[in-house]
């Protein structure tokens, strides 16, 4: 391993981490602005022009608040909970291909941190790990509402992971690979997977909403029943980590949806651009546009659809999504048999 390789990866990792944090930061502002728009209000507009400094103000506020650890809480696990949430939210970006290779200084630079050949499964692994943050934090708070939220989020995540895994199997049958890079490469131009797998995409998207704890599936922090859900007892930046992890998760799942189903960094007529660097940079821009559109969709749904009841959530997961996903697998198998790939 030469030094240039290490430096290149370090720059890439820091850039991706920075970008995902900044996007998550400004998603909070976008969410409040759009909420204002949907509810015929103005939204935050005091800090800076058009409220652009609002996320900074929120950050400073969270950092300077008093930090409270409840007397009967388990201190180590109480701190571990939000840290784990933040950690799992940040490590998924390692396998996402952000663009085609760049050619700089006589080197071919891959815009993906790690091209492991089980990339899709890695994403699933991290997603399934994400629930520990909520569970540990909820249990360690020593509060009945937090505990209920922890239990809820565990069962919700487990239920929707099954449908999510089944919906992705149909996609893998078509692509024949688990590497996110190869899946992206196969969708060059407008050959996007969503045109072949509309049902699979719908199931995957609904499950992503459930996995990121977004409305209409935000049962773990349902204010009307559980005070504040799993972060009832949290204050200061530990609360901030929980809230922030949700926005990073939104960004990451938007990126996954865009790269699995919406062509990733591919755009129509990309083969007409002769300079590979310009084509790659345009690809990155297109990819981020897709991600931002998905984030807007997350926000749009949140302020449009009411929250599910708990039994409705379970019924949707087990009795609707899982059978639909299995039907989708059978349909895909039949399609491959008849039409070829």
């Amino acid at each position: 391993m030469d030094i240039a390789f290490i430096i290149e990866k370090l720059i890439l990792i820091s850039a991706i981490l920075g970008i995902s944090l900044v996007i998550a930061m400004y998603t909070t502002l976008a969410e409040r602005k759009f909420a204002g728009f949907f509810q015929d209000r103005v939204g935050p507009n005091r800090a800076g022009p058009w409220g652009l400094l609002q996320p900074l103000a929120d950050g400073v506020k969270l950092f300077t608040k008093e930090e409270i650890i409840p007397t009967n809480a388990n201190t180590f696990l109480f701190v571990l909970g939000p840290s784990l949430s933040m950690f799992t939210a940040c490590i998924t970006t390692a396998v996402i291909p952000w663009g085609q290779d760049l050619f700089l200084f006589g080197r071919q630079i891959s815009l993906q941190v790690a091209d492991i050949n089980v990339g899709v499964l890695y994403v699933f692994g991290v997603v399934s790990l994400g629930v520990y943050g909520v569970m540990i934090g909820g249990w360690a708070s020593n509060n009945k509402f937090s505990l209920l939220a922890a239990v809820r989020s565990a069962s919700q995540n487990i239920s929707y992971e099954i449908a999510m895994g089944l919906s992705i199997i149909a996609l893998l049958m078509m692509t024949g690979t688990l590497s996110l890079r190869e899946i992206s490469e196969q969708q060059s131009g407008m050959n996007w997977n969503v045109f072949y797998q509309p049902l699979g995409f719908l199931i995957f998207m609904i499950c992503s909403f459930a996995e990121t704890n977004r409305t209409p599936f935000d049962l773990p922090e349902c204010e009307t029943e559980l005070v504040g859900g799993h972060h009832t007892e949290y204050s200061s930046m530990k609360l901030g980590f929980y809230l922030f992890a949700e926005y990073i998760n939104m960004f990451v799942s938007s990126a996954i949806m865009a790269s699995l189903y919406f062509g990733g960094y591919n755009y129509p007529f990309m083969h007409l651009i002769s300079n590979p660097n310009i084509a790659a940079l345009l690809g990155v821009a297109v990819f981020f546009t897709k991600i931002l559109l998905f984030i807007f969709f997350f926000i749009w749904v949140r302020w449009t659809v009411p929250r599910f009841r708990y039994d409705q959530l379970m019924k949707l997961g087990w009795k609707v999504l899982i059978p639909l996903a299995i039907v989708n697998i059978a349909l895909t198998g039949a399609g491959i048999l008849i039409f070829g790939k």
Binding site: Y122, F124, G125, L129, V131, I136, W139, A154, N157
Partner: protein, 166 residues
């Protein structure tokens, strides 16, 4: 390099496995068990068995341990109600566990090897493609039978849990 890594990981695995047994609080036990599974996942990675590693990660760490934590949180909220076993039962447990260990040690010694570091005959057997080919060609019947076994266990569990209507 991978040899010393193996010993380090084995130490971590056994350390957390012992903590699982010795921890007073069942939640802590479950969390230590998560760490044990994580160390085992790393062991698979050293053997270049990527698929097995990641599936161990998803299924054991991500699903089974979450369910175990889930049920502990539901059932055992205060430690005082934990049932105390009689000393006869504890004695029987120790003896049977010792016998199991004796059998395992005997089996391992019988296979030979000992000090020689384990070498994989085909190093890329653990990649998804090769594993799938082996599983669906040579071992198709055992694979299908195992899945039917799991299905029957699941149906049985649902049947037991179902409320009787009278």
């Amino acid at each position: 390099m991978s040899h010393s890594l193996f010993y380090l990981l084995s130490f971590i695995t056994l350390f957390f496995a012992l903590l699982v047994v010795f921890a007073k609080n069942p939640i802590h036990s479950a969390l230590y068990m998560v760490m044990t599974f994580f160390a085992i996942t790393c062991q698979y990675l050293i053997l270049n068995a990527q698929f097995l590693a990641i599936v161990n990660f998803i299924v054991y760490m991500g699903a089974i341990m979450v369910l175990i934590l889930f049920s502990i949180m539901f059932l055992n909220l205060n430690q005082a109600t934990e049932p105390q076993k009689s000393s006869l039962l504890k004695f029987a447990g120790v003896i049977s566990a010792g016998l199991l260990m004796l059998t395992l040690v005997g089996a391992i010694v019988k296979t030979g090897g000992g000090d020689v570091p384990f070498e994989l005959i085909k190093p890329d057997i653990g990649l998804v493609k090769n594993l799938g080919k082996v599983l669906f060609n040579e071992f198709l019947l055992p694979f299908e039978i195992a899945s039917v076994l799991l299905l029957s266990a699941m149906v049985g569990a649902v049947l037991l849990a179902k409320k009787e209507i009278n």
